[in-house]
Subunit: 171 residues, 2 copies
DNA sequence: TCTGCAATTGAGACTCAGTCTCATTTGTTG
DNA sequence: CAACAAATGAGACTGAGTCTCAATTGCAGA
């Protein structure tokens, strides 16, 4: 599979970040960035580990987590809560910030961005003399498809997720 | 320490819920509800376990988690993410829903509620034909006090928390 | 091109929140 | 008060994520 121009650009971007920090661009890091930017949904750390293994690249769990941490620091990847009890990751492309509608029945995730919401949040912070750096909004509920199928909303504490994912990934 | 009328009322409410479900009101559950409704900040499950132990009531971890689950189901307690990698809990009193401003420097949590924000979220859901059941908004940043002290905002992925809490709670 | 060495890696031990099991105990209904 | 389902405690277990340390590797300078 040929690497797209896009992913190669991201590798260059990451290389620049690493250089600035006096860190090194290794083959493992390169492979991980390539995979992450070829993935267009929210993924879990262990899922990424598993996919690398599938491709015959043996990269340790520690390296996966370490690289994700660097990518988050560089701003190229975001770590998000999607109603489950562990993190998901998503790559950040260009215009960047968005929030999530999460279907508690089928697990699908709809991204959205709304300037009115953002502006109102800034106003609230101002009133409370709070300096925001980041925010995180998940709306849980039932997507149009599940609604149509006559599903009933789950209790909000019982969010099950579908995943492109692979369970029992370890060892 | 005398139990307030308020907490006794909550016990009655929980008893009603349990009865409806064909479940039993045990001494452990009563003690936990009392403690939870006497606590006016966001607490962790292990913190609750530890406080019970401190009071000489030995209630197992399993019971603490099981009771919290029931309380969440009954709507009397809410499980929230506060930027850390595990859950916090808060009791729900009366008018209920709010969101959180979380200081990434000192860990303080400011609650707020804003109807404009809520209304706008409903509009967004409508436009996406999504049926919301619940939402969750955390704004991370720097509180007024930390701002005054000249603290700089942490990276958003590095949220440390103060706690009224007790580390090394197990066993 | 080669060298030196700090940065990086992998393997696996470890942590920590949360779940599960099962033998024993307890609340409630008849 | 008996019967029995529900609940409990102890501790084993799980799964995500972190840490350690010896071995390896990228890269800046000779």
């Amino acid at each position: 599979m040929p690497h797209t121009v896009r992913t190669e650009k991201e590798i260059t971007r990451f290389a620049g970040f690493l250089q600035d920090q006096g860190l090194k661009l290794t083959t493992e890091r390169t492979a991980l960035v390539r995979e992450i930017f070829a993935t267009h949904y929210h993924f879990e750390a262990d899922e990424l580990l598993f996919k690398m293994k599938e491709k015959g690249l043996k990269i340790s769990r520690a390296t996966v987590y370490r690289t994700l941490e660097l990518l988050v620091k560089s701003g190229m990847v975001r770590r998000v809560h999607l109603g489950e009890d562990h993190y998901h990751y998503e790559h950040v492309t260009g215009n960047s910030h968005h929030d999530h509608l999460i279907c508690t029945t089928c697990g699908s995730v709809i991204e959205f961005h709304d300037d009115v919401l953002e502006q109102r949040q800034r106003e609230i912070c101002e009133r409370k003399r709070f300096t925001p750096t980041f925010h995180n909004l998940q709306i849980l509920g039932l997507c149009a498809d599940c609604r149509k199928k006559g599903e009933l909303p789950d209790a909000p504490d019982r969010v099950k997720m579908i995943g492109a994912g692979a369970t029992q990934l370890r060892k």
